[in-house]
Amino acid sequence: MLNVQKITAGYAAGPVIWDINLVVNPGEIVTLIGANGAGKSTIVKTISGLLRPVSGAITYNGKSIESIATSERVRMGISHVPEGRQVFAGLSVAENLRLGAYVHRHALTEEELQARIKKVCERFPILLNRMDEIVGNFSGGQQQMLAIARGLMANPNLLILDEPSLGLSPLLVSEIFALIKALRDQGLAILLSEQNARSALAISDRGYVIESGRVSISAPAHELINSSEIIDRYLGVGGVTKISSDNKKMAAQIRDLIWSESIET
């Protein structure tokens, strides 16, 4: 449904991603993995329209979208949950959710809107009881839940999640990933950008490895997760091999720490 062809994009100082090719099919989770600064966020911003590409094409359900406004893309069903949650801190939960459906404001009646809020919140019961609270004081996990709920309010077909696990405790991370998987099972296509590569790949169908602004590898997720190269570079346990045998016990502890973040699938 989403087809990104040879996109080059960046900021005032020049491009930071080059010739990116990427496909997301209906009902699959696609993950972008890569180091900090590799260009993952730039890619997703270009897809949602926050950035205009210098060259290349993006099609969505067969329509060319690279030069239309963000609001139009949201209306077409692309919803982007930004990195660092970015909830409207001074507004209430209900107001945040309403804004999620902003592009449909003329199409929805008040009843339909309330029904949609209720439906979205089925997955986030914690939000239901706090509808009128200002969200600024919510915990990181609660804000992330709200940000995803807000993204779902636009009733998307493609949900883009930029670093949803950033700064969350391991327990919450597994909760978020379980949620993402459930959304996929419901039929949503999901484009995930994650540094927490192991957890992300564990629930993904396919993955792209982004290195210095280019796609270096694209493969099914289970291949990536078993590739020794990927394990070395992105899955964190590669470091263990470098620890000398004197420190085996410590290495085991580190390995446990790293593994505790992943979830069973």
Binding site: S48, H80, Q86, V87, F88, G90, L91, L99, Y102
Partner: protein, 635 residues
Amino acid sequence: MVEAVQIGLGGILQGCTYALLALGFSLVFRVTGVINLAQGGFCILGALLAHSFQAEFGWPILLAAAGGIAVTAMVAAVLGALVFVPGLSRVAHGNMLMLTAGLLALLTGAILLIWGSQPYALPPFSGDQPAVLFGITLPTQGFWIIGSMVSIVLALWWLLHKTNIGRALRACSENPAAAALMGISVPGMTLLSFILAAMIGATAGIVIAPITSLQFDTGSLFSIMGFIAVAIGGVGSFPGAVAGGLLLGLANQFATAYVSSLFSSALSVGLLLAILIWRPSGLFNVGKTRRQDVREEARVQKGLIRIARQAAWIWGGLGLVLAFTLPLWLPGGSLLSSLNITGILFIALIGLNILSGYAGQVSLGQAGFMAIGGYTAGWLAVQYNVAPILGVLAGTLISLICAVILALITMRLRGLYLALATLAFGLMIDSLAVGLDDITGGPSGLTGIPSFSIGGLDFSSPLRMYYLILGIILVSLFLMAGALRSDFGRALQAIRTDQTAAAALGINVPMYKLAAFAISAVFASLAGSLYAFDFNYLSPEMVGTTRSFELVTMMVIGGEGILLGPLLGSGLLTMLPTMFEALSVYKTFANGALLAFFFLYLPEGMFGGLVRAFRVIKNRVGHRPKRSLLHEGRV
């Protein structure tokens, strides 16, 4: 008692106007983080439009009022779309305040061109007969004023909390990037807030017009009062805007009634300074602060273009020859006089440039120090026959003391609040210049100031004055160029870039800020004294707040952060009106338009623009390899 109530009522009416202005400030600030000084201009524009509709076209007053508000909204839409909204993405955040000051000048100038300089008033909406309640008379217009404030507050609350547009506005104020992801057009919402604020301003102007007469330049007073009101209440807070406005109106009226009308603005300004020091974020906390490291590096750095060292020597030599021989080529005496003014203002600008261009601190009260220097030297010479040079020194000393005190009390303030505190200082000096008429001669000015002299050598002719000013400028430039190339200059630039990082490097930030402030005050004071001796006369508006704004405009147009840059700005704005006398009525308008143009399209100023243009030409004509050009740019 009745009298006090009466005065209190007057204060509330005035306060309602300030509150309306402050609401407009808060609205735009909430969405953009910018204080929009053009607000007062919209206020006058609305009122004068309504006046024309009513008096010229014979429309009934309420229709004329609606027409005034509607046309003001259209003007705001154009200015917002062409200047304000593009400015937000092009101009450094801290300079937006100056950009809106440019818009204010633009509006003021346009109003002067259309309506002239005479005052206007609207007829009261419901007749001249005042209402009498319990022995207290109140003009019926008072009900209109209070009523429109209450209804605007309610309407604003309803809009922001109960409508989709309002929620979208608040989303933009909370987090523009996330708002864009929701499909909200952030530039559209910004423009909307700008237009709404202008409409509120126009309403304020229209309802107050029957009880106060308005003229083209009342706008800056309204802007400043609105700014003060919003700062007292807490920038961005709506209840704060109302409370701040009412408090300011009451303080103003009681001070006028029981102290003196001459000092009333000094007292309001004193109130503001007290609140800024006691509670820098105002009476009502908005619970959310924007980072106030105004003037971030991005724009300033991009603008810095320097000439290569070799070329600098050649150009410097040519410039010197030109400067020394210029009087020989000039046809008339009036050009030489305005050349002298250019030079005098440039002396003040050297100081301002060190404070703003190098150390990155905002000052909107620089003319206050010019006033101190000018009046001290002038008064000593007129009253006690003190030698001018001693007068200059005395003025400098007083300025220095004031600068140190001001710097110490504003040490904690940054960005907007610092701009406001310096503005308040300038306004206080303005009001003292008018109020202390034993020393300053009051509004009509201090006359009979002798020409400058040292011992037996007097500088009464423009030509002698020219060489005196040239000498002072050369010495100052020489000293400052040396100072700025040392650790001192590097420390200042580090502070401009990031105060926290500078402090982390071990730079004593408060000390350097104090030094930069003191240097700027000394230069301004010196310029003020010379100004008084040059004109043999000094009046409050010559060294008032308008002058402070003009100095900033000159600096920006010329090129800030480069020692010589402001000379071009000073030259342009001083010489043009002299050369084209007939066009001098366009001066205010042109100031505003130029400021907006330079901020948007030529942020490096005329100096940078010239250097860049010269390089392009040289590159096209000669066959210089690209590498050396790059190298040159880095020198």
